[in-house]
C-alpha cells in the first residue's frame, strides 16, 4: 500500500503540469473559443528558450527567417531566468493571440483547429531546429524547486512534486477568484458568452483576449520549465502533453478551473500508478504484451470519452458574432477525363522516372489516398478527425500480420481495409454525439492511445525494428516494391498504388456528385435542417466515417507493402496532423485538393523534385513550412489553394458579375477567360 501511495504522490508532479497546461487551455477556450492544440508545444519552446537564456544569456527567437538569437546578458541568475521566462511566455502568448486567433474569431471551428495544428507543427519544429540538443532527454538541468525527500504518511516523496501541486492549486485559486470576483473576470465571461453583447457593454474582447492568452502562455511555459527536472524534455513527447491536458480541461467542461485542476492531478497520479504497477515485479499483473506507455495514454482517452459522454457536447459554438463557413465544395466535373489523364501521367512517370523519383511518386500516390480519406470526413461532412493515420496504422499492421501468416496480397489488403473500416465506425458511433472541436479533441486522444497502446505493442508492430513485410503477389504477378539486386521501387508496385489512388479518387468524386454527396454537404451545412429534410444524419456520418477509415486503411496497407520492414513510426499522430494540414492547405473540400496534397506530401514528388532527386535529407523543413503555411492560410484563405485558384478563375471568367474593385488589367485578362469558356 505504501508503495502505491508513493506512486500516487510522485504522480502529483506530472499531474500538476497537466493541470497547469489544462488551465491555460480553459483560459484560451473561454477567451477565443479555440482548443489550442499547440499549447504544450508552445510551452516546450518557452522552456528550451529559458534554458538557453540561463546557459548563454541568449534570447532565441521563435521566428524562422530572422536572426535566431540575440545576446542579452552575460551570466543570468536563476531569478533573472524566471523573469525572462514569464516575459517571453507572455510575449509569445500575446503574439499568437493577436496574429492568429484574434483574426480567426469568426472563422469556422475547423479554421481555428487547423491554425492551432499549424502552430503545433511550427513550435515543435522550431524547437527542434533552434535547439539541436533537444533530443537529449531526461537530463536534469535546472531544478528550480527543492528536491529533498519529504515523508508523507511514512512514504518518501520528492518535495518538488508537492511544490508543483501546491503551486498549481494556488494558480487555480487565483484564476477562480479573478474570474468570480473581478471586473476583468466578468468581462472575459461576457466576451466569451456573447461577443456582440460584450462589445455593446463596452468590454473590449481584444484586450480581454490578450491578457488571457498571456496568462495561459505563462502557465504553459512555467509548467514545462518545472517538469523538466522530473521528466526531462523531449520536444515530441512534451508537445503531446497537450492530450492529457485536453482531457483534464474537458473534464472541467472547459469552464471550471477547480475541476480541471483536480482532473489534471488525478490523470498524473493514475498514470504514475500504472507505471508503478508495471515496474513492480510483485504487482505486475499487466500482461507483458501491453505497452505501459500505451496504458498510460489510455487514461486521457478514457477521461475524454467519459467527459463527453457525461456532459454531452460541452463545446457549443454559438454565441460568436458570426460562425464562418467551411470552404465551398465544388461539384467534380469531367471525372473520367481527369482519371484517364491521371492514369496516363502516373504510368508514364512510373516507367520513365529514375528510382528516387519513382519512390517519391509512390509516396505521393499513397498520400493521395490518405488525403482523400480526410476530404471525405472533414471536407465533405465537416467532422474533424485527427485519427486518420491511426486507422492507417491499424490496417498496415493487420495486413502485415495476415501476410506473415500466409494470406496473399489482395485478401490481406481487403481484410486490413475492413478492419480499419470497423475501427472507424466504432469511433464514429460515439462521435455522433460530438462535433467540431470536441470531435477533434476526442480523435486526437484516440490517435495517441492507438499509437501507444496498439501500434506500440511489440506483439503487433514488432518493436523498434518493425516487422518484416512479406513479398506481395497480385494474381501470381510479383508486385513487390523492391527486387533482389539493384532494381528498387519497382513500377509493378507503383501500378498497384496508382490503381488505388485513381480508383479512390474516382469513387470519392462520383459519390460527391448526387445523391450521397448532397447528403454529406447537407449534413455539413446544417444538421438540424438536414434532419428536417428527412436525412438520417447519424447514418450519413457513420457512412462517411466508414468510407473515410476504409480509405485511410487502404493507404495504411499500401504503406505497409511499400516498405520491406514496417514500423510504428510510419503512423505517428503528428503524421495525421501534417496530412490534415496539407489537405487543408491545398483544398480540403475537393478531390483536386487531395491530389495536390499527395503531390506535396513529405518525401513526395514535389519535395523530391525540389531537392533535385536526393531522397530525404537532414535539412527537411516540411513541418516548419507546412505549419507556417497552415497558420497563414487558415487566417487569410480558408478555402485553400484550389479555392483561391477557383475564385480567381471565377472572377476572371464571370465578367459582368464582378463586384467592383477590378483593375483594368484583370478586366483585360477577363476577356481572354471569356474566350476560353
Amino acid at each position: 500500500m505504501g508503495a502505491y501511495l508513493g506512486y500516487l504522490l510522485a504522480g502529483l508532479g506530472g499531474g500538476a503540469v497537466v493541470a497547469s497546461l489544462a488551465l491555460g487551455l480553459v483560459l484560451t477556450w473561454r477567451t477565443s473559443r479555440v482548443v489550442n492544440f499547440s499549447h504544450a508545444a508552445m510551452g516546450t519552446y518557452l522552456a528550451f528558450a529559458t534554458f538557453e537564456f540561463r546557459d548563454r544569456g541568449d534570447l532565441v527567437l521563435p521566428v524562422a527567417g530572422i536572426p535566431a538569437r540575440i545576446h542579452l546578458l552575460p551570466t543570468p541568475t536563476l531569478a533573472a531566468s524566471l523573469v525572462f521566462a514569464v516575459i517571453l511566455s507572455a510575449a509569445v502568448g500575446a503574439a499568437v493571440f493577436w496574429l492568429v486567433f484574434r483574426p480567426l474569431r469568426r472563422a469556422h471551428p475547423l479554421a481555428r483547429v487547423v491554425a492551432s495544428l499549424g502552430l503545433y507543427l511550427y513550435f515543435s519544429e522550431i524547437t527542434r531546429l533552434r535547439f539541436p540538443t533537444a533530443g537529449a532527454t531526461a537530463v536534469t538541468r535546472y531544478p528550480v524547486l527543492p528536491e529533498h525527500t519529504v515523508k508523507v504518511w511514512g512514504t518518501g516523496v520528492s518535495a518538488n512534486r508537492l511544490w508543483l501541486a501546491v503551486l498549481v492549486m494556488a494558480a487555480t485559486a487565483g484564476l477562480a477568484t479573478v474570474f468570480a470576483r473581478t471586473r476583468f473576470g466578468l468581462a472575459t465571461r461576457a466576451a466569451a458568452g456573447n461577443e456582440k453583447a460584450a462589445v455593446l457593454a463596452g468590454v473590449s474582447p481584444d484586450r480581454v483576449g490578450l491578457v488571457n492568452w498571456m496568462v495561459a502562455s505563462v502557465l504553459a511555459g512555467l509548467a514545462v520549465l518545472l517538469i523538466e527536472p522530473i521528466a526531462g524534455l523531449d520536444p515530441a513527447t512534451t508537445s503531446l502533453l497537450v492530450v492529457p491536458a485536453l482531457a483534464a480541461a474537458l473534464a472541467g467542461g472547459l469552464a471550471s478551473f477547480w475541476v480541471t485542476t483536480l482532473a489534471g492531478l488525478s490523470i498524473g497520479m493514475v498514470q504514475s500508478l500504472i507505471l508503478g504497477w508495471a515496474v513492480r515485479p510483485d504487482t505486475n499483473w499487466i500482461p507483458s504484451w501491453i505497452p505501459v506507455t500505451g496504458l498510460q495514454q489510455a487514461v486521457p482517452l478514457a477521461v475524454v470519452l467519459a467527459a463527453l459522454a457525461w456532459r454531452g457536447d460541452p463545446l457549443p459554438t454559438r454565441g460568436a458574432v458570426l460562425e464562418g463557413e467551411l470552404p465551398a465544395s465544388p461539384e467534380p466535373r469531367r471525372v473520367t477525363l481527369w482519371a484517364a489523364a491521371g492514369t496516363a501521367a502516373g504510368v508514364a512517370g512510373l516507367f520513365t522516372f529514375s528510382a528516387p523519383y519513382r519512390q517519391a511518386l509512390i509516396v505521393s500516390l499513397i498520400a493521395v489516398v490518405l488525403s482523400l480519406s480526410i476530404v471525405v470526413i472533414t471536407g465533405y461532412v465537416g467532422q474533424i478527425s485527427l485519427a486518420q493515420l491511426a486507422f492507417a496504422g491499424v490496417a498496415g499492421f493487420t495486413a502485415v500480420d495476415l501476410a506473415a501468416d500466409g494470406l496473399s496480397f489482395l485478401p490481406a489488403v481487403v481484410v486490413a481495409v475492413a478492419v480499419a473500416t470497423l475501427v472507424g465506425v466504432a469511433v464514429g458511433v460515439p462521435a455522433l454525439r460530438v462535433r467540431g472541436m470536441s470531435l477533434a479533441v476526442a480523435t486526437m486522444a484516440l490517435a495517441v492511445a492507438i499509437e501507444q497502446l496498439v501500434l506500440g505493442s511489440e506483439a503487433l508492430s514488432g518493436g523498434a525494428g518493425g516487422r518484416s513485410v512479406p513479398r506481395p503477389y497480385l494474381l501470381g504477378v510479383d508486385v513487390g516494391i523492391s527486387a533482389p539486386g539493384a532494381d528498387n521501387f519497382r513500377p509493378a508496385f507503383g501500378l498497384v498504388a496508382l490503381a488505388a489512388a485513381v480508383g479512390s479518387a474516382v469513387l470519392v468524386a462520383n459519390l460527391r456528385r448526387r445523391p450521397t454527396g448532397l447528403r454529406w454537404l447537407a449534413v455539413r451545412a446544417n444538421e438540424r435542417a438536414a434532419a428536417a429534410a428527412g436525412i438520417d444524419v447519424a447514418r450519413v456520418k457513420l457512412g462517411a466515417f466508414a468510407l473515410s477509415s476504409a480509405l485511410a486503411g487502404l493507404a495504411g496497407a499500401l504503406t505497409a507493402f511499400a516498405t520491406t520492414a514496417l514500423s510504428t513510426s510510419s503512423f505517428m499522430v503528428v503524421g495525421s496532423l501534417v496530412a490534415l494540414a496539407m489537405t487543408y492547405l491545398t483544398g480540403i473540400a475537393g478531390v483536386t485538393g487531395a491530389v495536390l496534397a499527395g503531390l506535396l506530401a513529405q518525401s513526395g514528388l514535389v519535395t523530391v523534385l525540389g531537392r533535385g532527386g536526393t531522397a530525404g535529407g537532414g535539412g527537411d523543413h516540411t513541418f516548419l513550412v507546412s505549419g507556417l503555411a497552415l497558420v497563414v492560410m487558415a487566417v487569410v484563405a480558408p478555402e485553400g489553394l484550389t479555392g483561391l485558384v477557383r475564385r480567381g478563375w471565377d472572377r476572371l471568367s464571370a465578367r459582368p458579375a464582378g463586384v467592383g474593385g477590378r483593375s483594368a488589367v484583370t478586366s483585360a485578362v477577363a476577356t481572354d477567360g471569356e474566350v476560353e469558356r
Binding site: 467551411l326 448526387r514 445523391p515 454537404l521 447537407a522 428536417a532 429534410a533 428527412g534 438520417d536
Partner: protein
C-alpha cells in the same frame, strides 16, 4: 376526440413541453385533416415554435402524444417523422448554403425517394421520378430562374421560397410552416397565400404558423390560438376573431389588422 373535416392526418393529444420548471406548452390538443389548411397563431412567447419543435421531434415532450397518419410518432427521430411525410420549415430558414437551390430541393427529395442502386449511386445518376417531381416543385414555387444559384446570393423572399420548395420536395402529406411570411412584402405574402391554398387543394395539408394575421385568417379553414403554452381557442377564422379571450390575448394587444 372530435375530428372535424376529413379524417385526421395529424392529431396532437395533450402535448406538454417543459423547460426546467417552466411549462412552455400545457396539454395542447388539436388535429389537422388530410389536405386541410390550418393556422396556429399566438402572441410572442405563446409557445408556437416550441409546439412545432415538439411535433417534429426537435424538442422532447413532457407528456401527451403525437399521431400522424394513424400511428403514434412520439419516439421517432426528426428525420423519421419527415420520412413519413411530416415535413417542416424553419423560421430561420436554415438552407444548405453549400448547395445550389436545385440541390437543396434534390437532397430533400432524395431522402424520401427509393434508394438508388449501387451502380446508379456510383455513376451519380438520379431516379427519373425524382427529376420529374423536382421540376414540378420548382415550377410550383417559382424557382426556375434561380435553380442553379446558391442561397447566399438570393433575396430574402427568394430564400423563403427555397425553404418552402425544399419542404415540398420531400413529398409531404403535411407541411408545417414556421413563419413563412416573416419579412415578405405584401405582394409576396399574398402570392404565398395563393400557393398554400393551391397546395391544400392538391391534397397536401398545411399547418401554418405566422404573425401575419391577414395571411392566416385569409387562407386557413381553421385556426388554433396559443397563449402562454395553452390552447385558448380553436375554430374558423370568424369564430376565432369573435372570441373575446383571443381578442384580449392577441388581437387586442397586437392590433386587429
Amino acid at each position: 376526440m372530435a375530428t372535424p373535416g376529413v379524417g385526421a392526418l395529424l392529431s396532437v393529444e395533450e402535448l406538454s413541453v417543459r423547460y426546467g420548471g417552466l411549462a412552455a406548452l400545457s396539454e395542447v390538443s388539436f388535429t389537422v385533416g388530410e389536405g386541410e389548411l390550418v393556422g396556429l397563431i399566438g402572441p410572442n412567447g405563446a409557445g408556437k415554435t416550441t409546439c412545432i419543435d415538439a411535433l417534429t421531434g426537435f424538442q422532447a415532450s413532457a407528456g401527451g402524444h403525437v399521431r400522424f397518419a394513424g400511428a403514434v410518432i412520439d419516439d421517432l427521430a426528426p428525420h423519421e417523422r419527415a420520412g413519413l411525410g411530416f415535413v417542416r420549415t424553419f423560421q430561420s430558414l436554415d438552407l444548405f448554403d453549400d448547395l445550389t437551390v436545385a440541390q437543396n430541393l434534390e437532397v430533400a427529395a432524395g431522402a424520401r425517394s427509393a434508394r438508388p442502386g449501387l451502380a446508379d449511386r456510383f455513376r451519380g445518376r438520379r431516379p427519373a421520378d425524382t427529376a420529374e417531381h423536382l421540376e414540378e416543385v420548382i415550377d410550383l414555387v417559382g424557382l426556375g430562374s434561380i435553380a442553379r444559384r446558391r442561397p447566399g446570393e438570393l433575396s430574402h423572399g427568394e430564400r423563403h421560397r427555397v425553404a418552402l420548395g425544399r419542404a415540398l420536395a420531400a413529398r409531404p402529406r403535411l407541411v408545417l410552416l414556421d413563419e413563412p411570411a416573416s419579412g415578405l412584402d405584401p405582394a409576396e405574402t399574398s402570392a404565398l397565400g395563393v400557393l398554400l391554398t393551391a397546395l391544400a387543394a392538391r391534397g397536401t395539408a398545411v399547418l401554418l404558423v405566422d404573425h401575419d394575421m391577414s395571411l392566416v385568417m385569409g387562407t386557413c379553414e381553421r385556426v388554433h390560438v396559443l397563449d402562454h403554452g395553452l390552447l385558448i381557442a380553436s375554430g374558423t377564422p370568424a369564430e376565432v376573431r369573435a372570441d373575446p379571450g383571443v381578442r384580449e390575448a392577441y388581437l387586442g394587444a397586437g392590433g386587429a389588422r
